[in-house]
């Protein structure tokens, strides 16, 4: 319930993670690209996982 308890905090965390990931991808190194992509994809991936988990749980 951390989302409902701290909506602004979660929104800011999501924003930070996404933007940090996309900014990291600007670097040339492959490691930065991969790490940045993983960071940027965390919010949608976590959202999808949570959504599917609730659907299965119903």
């Amino acid at each position: 319930m951390i989302w409902a308890r701290h909506p602004t905090g979660v929104a800011l965390a999501v924003t930070t993670v996404t933007i940090a990931g996309l900014a990291a991808m600007l670097a040339e190194g492959a490691a930065w690209k991969v790490a940045g992509f993983i960071l940027a994809a965390v919010p949608p991936a976590a959202g999808l996982a949570a959504y599917l988990s609730h659907r299965r749980g119903r």
Binding site: P7, T18, L26, G36, G47
Partner: protein, 408 residues
């Protein structure tokens, strides 16, 4: 900040299956909450139709390389055999001018992705700006023209113009910037107000069977949170890119003027006669900044150079330097480098905004992520508008019920 709202009334009983909607949740809200709600609603509604077009055109532009390739608009040049020397730039320019002798060269563009190509921008004599410039693409190793359509006339080029300025030039760019700013405001105010609407709700939970309106609101909050970072980044960079032309004009009016005054480029007769060769100018600029490569050479007398100097844009060898320029002012007479200037902060912001807006720096995975986020954001915009429209009939119906009660 005080908590923006407190739930004081609401129906908690589950309505029978098929019921239209749960009773509205009512809030006593702080002034800040009400202002944010108003801003969120109206900025979203105003931006929605424009945002729809920007999302559709933006999605197409993410895949512009693939589309150009598929439609046959991509230029192809056979790779030169290893060790083949580059043709002199003067020869390349002469070949370009021979195709349209009534025009004069204003700039040479070196394609970082296709190092074998150089584009010569040709303009009418006396023209300083690039409006109406005709690009001619040539092979740097063979000195021959490469058949390539004007990028502005291809389907993706037309869509880019629609996306960037609505076919309206600078006013269109600024209008696009206003739309992007509305989206930024909509997103920020959304963060401020969405808390009370997800009270007691787990992340990823979409309530079903309690009315379409509640389901859509849960989707709105959930998808809005998931894509918030992306949407904020793309809309904020949309604002900075919309101001890009103005940033360039500011640079022209300030930094370029300073360079011209400092190095005697102001009031100087336009350098048109035989002076230093183009290759010498390029070599001098690159020698002044070892490891950096020429990206663009602007002739004296262009809107972005003095009457005496070439402006040479150099890109760095790695990392962020590859995306940022340094500007070499090179004397057209003797190829002496007058000054190497760094980009001012506002042009750095504009430069860095480009990849972060278009998402073209991470290959296919990033393009797919960009597309998914664009369409989720578009869905959130659409269902936000639906949530607003859907409440109208109920209010009307409630008003009619009240009216009927009073009559009775």
């Amino acid at each position: 900040m005080t908590h923006p709202a407190r739930i004081v009334a609401g129906t908690r009983t589950r309505p029978p299956p098929g019921a239209a909607a749960v009773a509205p949740v009512r809030f006593t809200a702080s002034r800040g909450f009400r202002v944010s709600l108003w801003l969120h609603r109206w900025t979203g509604l105003i931006a929605a139709p424009f945002f729809l077009i920007l999302c559709i055109t933006g999605t197409i532009l993410i895949f512009h390389e693939e589309i150009d390739e598929g439609l046959g608009y991509a230029a192809h040049a056979e790779a030169a055999s290893p060790g083949t020397p580059e043709r002199p730039l003067s020869e390349i320019v002469a070949t370009a001018v021979a195709k349209t002798p009534e025009r004069r060269p204003l700039a040479l563009v070196f394609d970082a992705d296709h190092p074998e190509r150089v584009t010569v921008s040709l303009v009418e004599p006396g023209t300083r700006s690039f409006d109406g410039a005709k690009p001619v693409v040539l092979d740097r190793y063979r000195g021959t023209a490469i058949e390539a359509p004007d990028p502005r006339s291809t389907p993706t080029g037309i869509i880019l113009t629609l996306h960037a300025n609505w076919f309206l030039g600078l006013p269109g760019e600024l209008a696009g910037g206003v739309v992007a700013l509305l989206v930024v405001i909509c997103l920020v105010t959304g963060v401020v107000i969405y808390g009370p609407f997800i009270k007691g709700l787990a992340f990823g939970l979409i309530r079903r069977g309690r009315g379409e309106r509640l389901r859509q609101r849960d989707l709105h909050n959930f998808l809005g949170t998931v894509t918030l970072g992306w949407a904020l980044l793309v809309s904020a960079t949309g604002v900075t890119l919309a101001l890009g032309d103005i940033a360039l004009k500011v640079w022209q009016a300030t930094e370029l003027q300073r360079l011209a005054v400092a190095h005697g480029g102001q009031g100087h007769a336009l350098a048109t006669g035989p002076g230093a060769s183009l290759d010498a100018v390029r070599a001098a600029a690159e020698a002044a900044k070892p490891g950096w490569r020429t990206s663009l050479m602007l002739y004296p007398g262009s809107a972005f150079s003095t009457d005496r100097h070439f402006t040479v844009l150099l890109v760095g060898p790695e990392g962020l330097q590859k995306r940022l320029f340094e500007i070499a002012l090179v004397d057209a007479a003797d190829a002496r480098v007058a000054e190497i200037a760094t980009l001012p902060w506002y042009l750095v912001v504009t430069q860095l905004s480009q990849p972060l807006h278009f998402g073209d720096y991470g290959g296919l995975p990033l393009k797919l992520l960009w597309t998914a986020c664009a369409w989720f954001t578009l869905f959130v915009t659409g269902n936000g508008a639906w949530l607003w429209f859907a409440r109208r009939p109920r209010r009307k119906a409630a008003g009619e019920e009240r009216g009927a009660g009073q009559t009775a």
